[in-house]
Amino acid sequence: MLNMMLNPIILGQVVVNGLSLSSIYVLVAMGFTLLFGIMRVVNFAHGEFAMLGGFALLFLYGQLKLPFFVAVLLAAAIVAVGGLVLERLVFRWFYQKMFQSMIGLLGLSIALTYSAVLIWDVHARSIPPAFTAILRVGGLILPLDRLVVFGVSIVVLVLFYLLIRHTRMGLAMRATAQDLEIAEVQGINSTRIYQLAFVVAIFMTALAGGLYGQVYSLSPFMGEVPLLKAFIVVILGGMGSIPGAAIGGLILGMSESFLATFFGSAVSNFASFGVVILLLIVRPWGLMGTPE
């Protein structure tokens, strides 16, 4: 076993796998933590937006045959902008009401999932793989699709970072997250900021869903997994913390890749749950959060 672990070829696989998993998790968790940090909602319907992103990509790439990079970004954009309807109809009643948001958005999750079933039926389907090539670099085996997932995610995350840190809109978002009342007194239109944050968050989530669909199969029920992962990452990193979501996602993705490869997925699941529970008991505000 130890020999296997130290084998560079296998390690290389584990790392690449881990990076692509991490990037998907970071994207999903980032959206989740944004919605919590700014609007104080716990988006139990988060996974469904990933699912919609996957189905949108299936349509744009699988059916309309648009070029992959166009399709994947356009799919996410369509879900994000279309999601604004839901923002006005559903989300806005739950802003700053954490507990009500949990149950209400759970209702939304159920409504979305079974609407998808009505539209597309329950069967799993897959997006035609865009990149089947496998790079061989110095003995390491690197599947191109995983690298693309990682690459696209990194680009989007860097853009997100620039938005948050170096634009006025990003500043407004951070101000609203810190203190809504003061931000509004300063002239920030909270409704607009909420909508902006929503679009950004859902864009990243839907993108993650599309990328996820590259590697795994799509079904109306696939949203459950991204939601669970988002929870774990956000607990690890701290609810509402953006760097926390990045670090948490990286840790989860890499450890899952490692544990699943060598010990099986059951062990990997138990381990991540167990660690998270322990963390919630000992340090509930996560690695990067602040204790209340």
Partner: protein
């Protein structure tokens, strides 16, 4: 936690006694519940009725925990512990149901006792998250421990407790008896000095502790009782439907219990009972349109949480208040 002034800032100075018309209504309902199977033993109605009764147990027991300000997303896990305990004792070890039922309650209570002191220290949202994950872990244990539980395929052909209970009418009365005992215990708890303390805990934990209340001890005691009760539901339900599997106790089942409490109303024991009735009946009414029914379920949840956070009980209160105003105007 949910602000119980949202349910109407009614000032209640202690355990409110039921007024005369309410006693009459309660008595009538109890009578109907007890008598209708003898008059109209339709097997489908009996099946639904039995399920409603069993879910009342779980919903009411979760109410106890929620009343202290803790929303648990692990309630179905304890139901599963009770279910599997009873099923395995009966089918593998040949125990009589009369012993396996208390054992089921005991097993669920033991797990609650083991984990309660750790979990109940956690505040609001962390408690929700940890119970969410704990519930998943328990379900995974049910799934992975194939030698014991049969894994994700579940266990089939679970026998009824005794030949007597093969009859749907008999099982209905068994469920009715269990429900009456459990809900009765919940009612007693809520209206006793313990109930007053539970409310105080929810409304101001620090103040309550500084008034001499052993907060953690009371939380754990009530929690253990709630776990035992839902363990009983698990046992009764598994023997009722002749089947048990890990998926019967997943996060959505736990959420169901929470939803029953929320839809019915969080501040009143009647709430979860109404919620259980509503949530067991609704799928049956839309039986042919399973997916549409779930979409509607979801939409109802959104609407209720957005506009009626106090649940159906609040709706009832508002309707009555509106009706009173209407009548007042009519007479004026």
């Amino acid at each position: 936690m949910i602000d119980d002034t949202a349910a109407g800032a009614a000032v209640r100075s202690g355990a409110a006694a039921l007024s005369a018309p309410r006693w009459a209504l309660a008595g009538l309902t109890a009578l109907v519940m007890g008598v209708w199977p003898l008059v109209y033993p339709h097997s489908f109605a009996l099946h639904i009725g039995t399920l409603v009764l069993l879910y009342c147990i779980g919903a009411a027991s979760l109410h106890l925990v929620a009343r202290m300000g803790h929303i648990s997303l692990a309630h179905a896990a304890f139901m599963g512990i009770g279910g599997y305990t009873s099923v395995l004792l009966v089918m593998r070890l040949g125990w009589p149901f009369a012993l396996s039922l208390p054992a089921a309650a005991g097993a669920a209570a033991l797990l609650g006792l083991a984990i309660g002191p750790v979990l109940l220290r956690l505040s609001g949202k962390y408690f929700v998250l940890v119970t969410f994950l704990f519930g998943e872990i328990v379900r995974m244990v049910f799934s992975e421990w194939r030698d014991l539980t049969g894994g994700s395929n579940g266990i089939f052909n679970i026998p009824r407790p005794y030949p007597l209970f093969e009859s749907p009418v008999a099982y209905y009365y068994l469920a009715l008896g269990a429900m009456a005992l459990c809900v009765g215990l919940c009612l007693r708890l809520v209206r006793s000095e313990i109930g007053r303390t539970m409310d105080a805990l929810r409304e101001g934990e620090q103040l309550t502790e500084c008034s001499g209340v052993p907060v953690l001890r009371i939380k754990v005691t009530v929690f253990v009782i709630a776990c035992a009760m839902v363990g009983i539901q698990g046992a009764l339900q598994s023997h009722f439907v002749h089947f048990i599997s890990p998926e019967s106790f997943n996060i959505f089942e736990s959420l169901n219990f929470v939803v029953m409490n929320v839809i019915g109303g969080l501040t009143n024991l009647l709430g979860p009972l109404l919620g259980a009735l509503f949530l067991v009946l609704l799928p049956e009414l839309l039986r042919d349109y399973v997916n549409l029914q779930r979409v509607i379920y979801g939409i109802i949840l959104v609407v209720v949480m957005a506009f009626l956070p106090g649940g159906l009980v609040e709706l009832g209160r508002r309707l009555r208040a509106g009706g009173a105003r209407l009548l007042g105007r009519g007479e004026g």
